[in-house]
Symmetry: D4
């Protein structure tokens, strides 16, 4: 793969089911990315090496997905000044409410841009990265506008079944 | 004021107490901005005109703060493909939990980057906008790095009172 | 279909499983309606055209169902002074608590009449529309009284199995 | 007072601080109303007599405000087929989350149109009643349109202080 | 059946799956009871007649189970000064948190003794009625003591499987 | 004081501000009681001695108030088969939601009759004890009926201020 | 089994599915333990005897798992000054939020070290006990370091499937 | 100060109001400690240096207090295998519910022993550290037993005011 513009990190391989939505959104727009499983808690040193490595490779955004006491996005944001996007992974018992609060409630000074719990949030983190890249890439901006237009057209074309 | 790079919108003038933190963060980094009170519910037409106007002026990001059934950020995101940052304003009774869920739980396709409830979230939305602009502005990137460094130094210099 | 008295809008075709309860309630009382999938976020322009069109056709109420950051009802209420009824669709992870707060916590000035999360709420939105129409339609008022009476009789006739 | 079109009931005289917002909204639009303190739990017989009396006087809507285990709106809705609007009063410890769920989560068959917790909800219940009456009263519809327009104009005229 | 000492009421026949636990607890202790489906909202008149009838028959306690906006226990408690026990039925989306708050948060003056959400709560409402009757019935008190002792013995005899 | 019929226990002397409402309700009806501060956690042996002592003195009910991880009522219920009433004391940060769940969610086999968070719950626990004693005390039953009637009359006599 | 260093107690045999994770963690590190089902509510005397017995045998920590109104850990902590670790068992309807608050919100003076809801919490309670024992056991400390290292290596070796 | 046995870390100097309770508990038992403000997000490098330094000095436990997206305890636990105790600091709007979930919901493999939100939790983290040290220090164990005894005696000596 060519040099990645976005790095997708997740705390566990189970999170891939959700986080691939971010990857897919980037892929659909032709944005290169790297995707890795790295735990902020279980492999912090690997995480720091990875952040340094990605920064050196010119990554522009990090998308981090984690569940429960979800510190991954916040820890990355503490180590780099690049924009960090957080995706709350639904947790087994609290359904991601814990993940959401652990990601979004960051203290003043270290922002994490947070998206919805689960699939929608992962896809939207990808789309948000696209929208940021589109600010300086007219072709991408056009692609995004087309995507948005097609999305609206699909809704306009939706019909409901008649009531039995 | 010169042409704004960021637009800060809020649902009510009461929200300024919180949202000025976003303005201040931008101002501290020399990022131009426009700040307006426009309600998604009470003045939707004004909002659409304003979005069009700001886009024409070359605004790159919207920061939207609202409380309760906080639709402002989502409605803006539905009308523009530019990145939209959402700040949950603490509500009188539910303390912003309603605002947070109304902003962050966006459906797949229309992302809103969400930050913490209240002052920290507003400041961080501003800082996040700075970090995005810094991707293509080395001087700003340096300023941001300095800010981060100074922040760390202030913490390192903090001493606690002795126990009585 | 003859001119609709009620418009039922929902954010996604998946919401039909819930929202058909509203349609069915109206149909059972012979109240004409239009049912459409239109997203406040993904197809805002379509939504505004639709609101204008329905108003021109003489629709008297809107019933809007949406999930998550559920802005549909609030956005409609911002564009028309006709009564708007909101139905919180259960969301995948937070089970509609996000939808409920996003719909019910509207600011002063723009009311949305909100009903229960899910099927019961959809059916009740339909019945509430019937009760409003019944204020000026004696035959409908009688039908509603009959429905209520039959409902009470069914409960009176319910028997429980004996304990094994 | 002339015959009331709307009845405002609340569970305790303490609720008046909130519920007068509903009264004020009606008064501003020249809609006649009756306002009473009646508890569904502490004075159920009085409540039933009152519902019968109001219905006989031609009341068209009930607006009921209550806090905690807030049964008032639901109990009224069980006794009359007229539209019932519910306002969750903020409770001392749970801040109205209990009131909201007690009012909005009605079972299929007996709708209660629910509004936001507290002042905004009370005012909006009044405005919603106005919007229903406006369906058959062109002068009132015009007044409501004027109110909405003025509301939008006030927002358009709002300016923010400059940052110090 | 001989004259009932306890009346078990529930809002819907679906609640029987839970509420039969209360019936079973009473039956196991030889306490007579009546069990009925009566909705506070859909059949209020039937409910009032039933309360009067049961009181006349000498019922000493009411056990009421309901879900969602669960007003049944509170409404009964408003119509009789006999002790009323409430059981929150798990609701489809909010899992009984709405039911619990709707039952337990009664205002000063009208108590409802509330038990756990679901099966445990229903069984315990039955056992609590037994414990009240046991205050004036030595044989029943002995039976309850035996039940408690047996319960402790069963736990003492529980063994865990060995780890594989 | 003559032999107590009810024992009121609370986890801390701070809880008296709330729990005196239970005492006052009993006193108003001439029901004798004992009131003590005993912590289930900090003084468990004292608690067990006290339970034994009270039972020997013929106490018929325990009313237990505690906050946070509120185990007091459950622990008493585990040591006696007498009816135990639980009052959730509002906690400093979670406002009694923790206390409520810690008291009400008892497992099958050991019931605790739970009342509302705070003052209303304490008063109602006292009134509920009165209602149980009234089952075998006609004079008390009459007093309770009078109290309920007076309560309804007070509400009937309540008037609201006119709107300015 | 040789003398246990850790005692694992749980309120019901159903909890073993979760609590065996604690046992397994201890077993993997060669730490001896005793595992028992004892309910704080249903068998309090057995619990007190067991605590005394375990203390006499030289147990150093208690790990207690319970659900709902989860008093087990707190009650043990009230009877012994040894460290007590609490594991919130997921409850049927509230998914362990009740268990968590019942365990963690202990009053000043009687600590319970609380871990995550469910499997992760049980395993971590075991690992935490290991970390405490490792303070005075170099071999165990080495084992723990190896475990942590291996855990990090497994993550480093994880690869994600390619997007289809 | 002599070499510290416990390190107390907190995310902000504002947290000292709460965290001094931990310090005070240690001081009362003569346990040496170091107390520092270090943010996991704003000064991560300082944090890692500090953890290394403290470990080298022979610290046996870390007590970490943080609010909101409270990652401090989890990040420390990821960098050391020493026992880490977490204290949820009450946050401005969500009152520490966010802090609690961010600290307690750690994934399997990296435990953080969590205590109550606020003052009680901070004091109990200190007392828990004492109880762990007491396992290998008979004098300390005696001191702890005395503290517990005195605590029980104080409760036994508490008297309530008489009702007016």
């Amino acid at each position: 793969m060519t040099r990645p513009l976005v790095s997708i990190v997740m705390g566990s391989s189970n999170d891939w089911e959700i986080m691939q939505q971010a990857a897919r959104a980037l892929q659909d727009f032709g944005v290169t990315f790297d995707a890795r499983v790295i735990s902020a808690h279980r492999s912090p040193d690997l995480l720091f090496d990875y952040i340094k490595d990605m920064s050196a490779q010119g990554v522009q955004f990090f998308i981090a997905g984690a569940g429960g006491a979800a510190h991954l996005a916040g820890v990355i944001a503490g180590k780099t000044a690049l924009p960090v996007l957080g995706v709350p992974i639904p947790s087994k018992y609290l359904k991601g409410m814990d993940s959401l609060l652990s990601i979004v409630q960051m203290p003043k000074g270290i922002p994490v841009a947070t998206f919805a719990i689960g699939e929608a949030g992962a896809a939207n983190a990808g789309l948000f990265a696209v929208s940021m890249l589109a600010l300086n890439d007219k072709a991408l901006a056009q692609k995004l506008a087309d995507y948005r237009k097609k999305q609206a057209e699909q809704i306009a074309a939706t019909t409901l079944p008649t009531l039995s």
